[in-house]
Structures are given as structure tokens and as C-alpha cells.
């Protein structure tokens, strides 16, 4: 018999929604969405992405919300409660994949803090060699460690305060401010002479691109990584909801707000690049960190008022990344609370644990890149796990019993699309495997040393295999440990 433990919960529905949007909107919305959208047909990509929301993200987020709201336990305990004790390992796998991301994501937020300080202290000024600055920062062992520690200390302090006084309060500030900052950046970008070329490039009708498989693959990948669907984060936040909560509408709101954040970032970044960069296409093709820390930083040095807009840009990155990181740390924290730990003890343990396990990524950027590859693609596996578990429980049953009674949206098809998830998984996963194999034609199954085989198929498969085996071995032990439920009020 599970022990019932009462704790604080979301005080308002908007607090929950803003926190879930904070969970979904991350650095990827700002430095990945605009880059990929611009290179994959602009408007056609956005259409494919909106369809991807319905086919991929919304059903998964609904499933997650049901798991959290019904079981009132974190990722591991919720799989035990929802799918059955012998399926606890599925929850463990999802939890490890998301925590694997948390370990290096704190380092990424730390980068943004460092660059924000570069901006406000006047380091980002005309004549700055931004490539050298980034190489010196990311290539010096230990240079990223203090910023990683600072980020984790801040996250721990907030989670120490709990849901309504910690997470909810901070997200009510971070998320509206983030959207305001994105709007300010977009307005400024579109006032620059020559910015119209960026808008034209972004929105040039290229509807034939909708017939290209690559556009769809990129759109679905963006949906999978950006919305947080299948990570177990929405699940964790829904542990603390009131008894009646509209799962379908909340999931849809989170997905559209997440897309809007990326779109606003696109309206800010693409026109800026086309107005100021001598080679806009090189900037678009430069990768996430190359775009933010080298190309855009370089453009801020020549933009009138560049210091102010560089500061706003990096602050927006901090807010987006930090609000997502909070949800990842809360995921780990909830697992400990399910095992009977108090919030204070669990917050300190989760904070220290993620800080320590993130140190290798803070020390070596090739290790961070490897972890980003392994657990980033691992999210596809997490989504598959949720979809299989939903089918095992019964998709109709989940809609009828757990979603429909409290939902204003009478649209069961939105959840039933989860039946198609394994198809999308096979297509997208196969595409990534084929790409990775082409990067290392003769050595794609090798994995050590990680610095040499950073993005191989082997490094992914072996690390996943270790996690799944450990999850299976610890299945019963973790099922026995996860016993404490959260008790919600009306």
C-alpha cells in the first residue's frame, strides 16, 4: 500500500501552463529552429512542423500528462502504476535519457550566462574575433566549469522552494519576459537596412519543398527535440496538478507556444543575418553554437546598439535554457521524493548529482557533443516507450477515462494518433542511423575513445544498451523503492 504524502502543487492553471511552456521552450527554439527552418524551405518547413505537432508531440504530451496526473508519481513510479510492475524499467530508461541530457544542458546554460556577461561587460565590441573567443572558452579545459556550477546552484535553490513558491513563481517571470525579449529582438532585426532580404528568404514560397522527405524529417526531428514530448518532463509537472485539469488543451497550448517561440526567434535571427552578415548562407549552415556564439555575436559587434541587443539575446537564451533545465532537475528530484525523500534533501541530492555528472561535459566539449548525440536521439526511444505503453494500457481507455472527462476539446483523434508513433519512430530513427553511418563509413560501430568516435552509431547503441540492461536488472528494486505518491487537492 502506497504511503500518501501531501505537498505543494501548482496554484493556478496559468502557472502550470507557463511552466510547461518553459519546459518545452529551450535554447533549441532560438538557435536551431531559425537555422533549420531557413535551410529547409521556410514556410514549407513551418507547415510540416505544425503537422508534426499533431502527429508526434501532442499525443505524446497527453500520454505524459495522464501518467503524471493519474499515478501522482515521477517517471519510474508512474510506469509501474500505469503499465504494471514489470514495466518499471521503461520508466527508468526514459528517466536516464532525460537526466543524461540534464547533465550537459546545465553546461549549455552556463555558456549563455558567460556570453551574457561578455555582452554586458563590453567584451562584445567592434573588432572582436568571435571565433577565437569561442575557441578559447570552449576549448580550454575547466573554463566552462564555474558557469556550470553557478547554473546548478541557482536551479537547486529554486527547486528547494518547491512547486508554487519556486517553479511556478520563477516561470511566471521567465516565460512572459522571454517572449517580450524575442518580440523586441524581432522588431529591432526588421528595422535594420537590408533585413527584408532575410524575410524574403524565410518566407519565399517553396511549397514544392513539402514533397521533399528531408523537410519532413527535419520538421519531425525539430518537433521531437523542441516540444519536450516523450522526455518525462510534462509527466513530472503533471504530478502536481489539481485533480481536474484539461490535458488535451494544455498539451496543444504548450506545442503552439513552443512553435511560436521558435518562429519569433526566426523573425529576429534570419533578418539580422541577412542585413549584417557578408555571407548569410554560411551563418545559416554553421550549426547551433556556431550561429549563436560566433556568427550572431560577430554581427552584434557591428550592429548599432549591439551591446543592448546582444545582452537581450543571451538573456533570452538563459531564460529559455534555464526554465527547461529546471524541469529536468525536477524530474530527478521527483524520483527521490517517490522513494520517500523530503523535497529539501531531494533538491540538494539532485542538484549535486547533476552538477557532478555534468562535470565531464563541462570539461570537454567533445564529451558534451557525444552526450548530446546519444541522448538527443535517445529521445526518440523515449517517445516509442510512451507510445507502446499507451497501446498496452489501451488508447481508447486512456482517452475515455483520463482525458475526456476534464477536457473542453472533444477530439479523441488527437490522442489516437499515438497509434502511428512507431511508424514515425522507424522512419526518423532510420534516417539518423543512416546519416551517422555515412559520417564514419568504415568505423560507424566503434565507440571508444569518445573524442574520436563522437557521433557514431556504435556510441549510441552501446550507451543505450547499457542503460536498458541496467534498467532491466534494477526493475524490481526500483519498483519497490517508488512508493510515495503526491496527493493533490481540488
Amino acid at each position: 500500500m502506497a504511503e500518501i504524502k501531501k505537498a505543494d502543487q501548482w496554484s493556478t492553471r496559468w502557472g502550470l501552463i507557463l511552466s510547461c511552456i518553459g519546459m518545452a521552450v529551450g535554447t533549441g527554439n532560438i538557435w536551431r529552429f531559425p537555422r533549420v527552418a531557413a535551410s529547409q524551405g521556410g514556410g514549407a518547413f513551418v507547415i510540416a512542423l505544425l503537422i508534426g505537432l499533431f502527429l508526434w508531440a501532442i499525443p505524446l504530451l497527453m500520454a505524459e500528462a495522464v501518467w503524471g496526473k493519474v499515478s501522482r508519481m515521477g517517471v519510474i513510479g508512474s510506469f509501474k502504476e500505469m503499465a504494471g510492475r514489470k514495466w518499471t524499467w521503461m520508466g527508468t530508461t526514459v528517466a536516464v535519457i532525460s537526466l543524461g541530457i540534464a547533465f550537459y544542458y546545465s553546461v549549455v546554460v552556463g555558456w549563455c550566462i558567460r556570453y551574457f556577461l561578455y555582452a554586458i561587460t563590453g567584451v562584445i565590441k567592434p573588432g572582436l574575433d568571435t571565433e577565437a573567443l569561442w575557441a578559447a572558452f570552449s576549448g580550454t579545459p575547466g573554463a566552462m566549469v564555474p558557469w556550470h556550477i553557478l547554473t546548478m546552484v541557482a536551479a537547486t535553490v529554486i527547486l528547494f522552494k518547491g512547486i508554487s513558491q519556486g517553479l511556478e513563481k520563477i516561470n511566471k517571470v521567465l516565460i512572459p519576459t522571454l517572449f517580450v525579449m524575442l518580440v523586441v529582438l524581432a522588431i529591432r532585426a526588421n528595422m535594420l537596412p537590408g533585413s527584408t532580404e532575410g524575410l524574403r528568404y524565410f518566407f519565399e514560397p517553396k511549397w514544392a519543398d513539402l514533397l521533399k522527405g528531408r523537410v519532413w524529417l527535419e520538421a519531425f526531428t525539430q518537433v521531437a527535440w523542441s516540444t519536450g514530448a516523450g522526455w518525462g518532463l510534462m509527466l513530472t509537472y503533471f504530478v502536481y496538478t489539481k485533480k481536474r485539469e484539461d490535458i488535451a488543451l494544455n498539451a496543444t497550448t504548450v506545442c503552439f507556444a513552443d512553435t511560436m517561440a521558435g518562429f519569433l526567434a526566426g523573425l529576429a535571427i534570419i533578418p539580422t543575418i541577412f542585413a549584417l552578415s557578408p555571407d548569410p548562407m554560411a551563418a545559416v549552415a554553421s550549426g547551433n553554437t556556431g550561429l549563436a556564439f560566433i556568427h550572431l555575436t560577430s554581427l552584434f559587434t557591428v550592429m548599432p546598439g549591439g551591446v543592448i541587443f546582444a545582452s537581450i539575446f543571451f538573456l533570452a537564451l538563459i531564460f529559455a535554457g534555464f526554465s527547461s533545465l529546471l524541469s529536468m532537475v525536477e524530474l530527478g528530484l521527483r524520483l527521490l521524493m517517490d522513494a520517500g525523500w523530503t523535497r529539501n534533501k531531494a533538491a540538494i541530492a539532485a542538484g549535486i548529482g547533476i552538477l557532478v555528472l555534468g562535470l565531464p561535459s563541462a570539461w570537454s566539449i567533445s564529451f558534451l557533443d557525444n552526450q548530446d548525440w546519444v541522448w538527443g536521439v535517445g529521445l526518440l526511444l523515449s517517445g516509442l516507450i510512451f507510445s507502446i505503453a499507451a497501446m498496452k494500457i489501451g488508447v481508447n481507455k486512456i482517452w475515455d477515462q483520463y482525458i475526456a472527462p476534464d477536457s473542453d476539446l472533444n477530439a479523441p483523434w488527437m490522442f489516437k494518433l499515438i497509434y502511428l508513433f512507431p511508424v514515425w519512430f522507424v522512419i526518423i530513427f532510420w534516417w539518423w542511423i543512416a546519416q551517422a553511418a555515412s559520417w564514419y563509413p568504415d568505423t560507424y560501430m566503434k565507440w571508444l575513445p569518445i573524442s574520436e568516435y563522437t557521433f557514431t552509431v556504435g556510441t549510441m547503441v552501446y550507451q543505450w544498451a547499457i542503460v536498458v540492461v541496467l534498467a532491466l536488472v534494477t526493475n524490481n528494486w526500483l519498483a519497490d523503492k517508488s512508493t510515495v505518491k503526491f496527493e493533490a487537492t481540488e
Binding site: 488543451l249 497550448t253 518562429f263
Partner: protein, 32 residues
Amino acid sequence: MGWQFNMIVIMALVFGGTGWCVYRTMKAEEKK
């Protein structure tokens, strides 16, 4: 169809979709 028209359509979908969700949530909260 020019890029400006395209921009309006895409903006209407993204901002309209988000706005619709926010509107439905506000209406639901008013009913409580």
C-alpha cells in the same frame, strides 16, 4: 503568390493557433 502573402499565412497559423489555445483556456477559467 508572393513571399509577403506566404508570411501572412504562416503567421496566421502560428500566432492564430497559439491565440486560439490561450482564448479557450481563458474561457474555461472564466467558467470555473
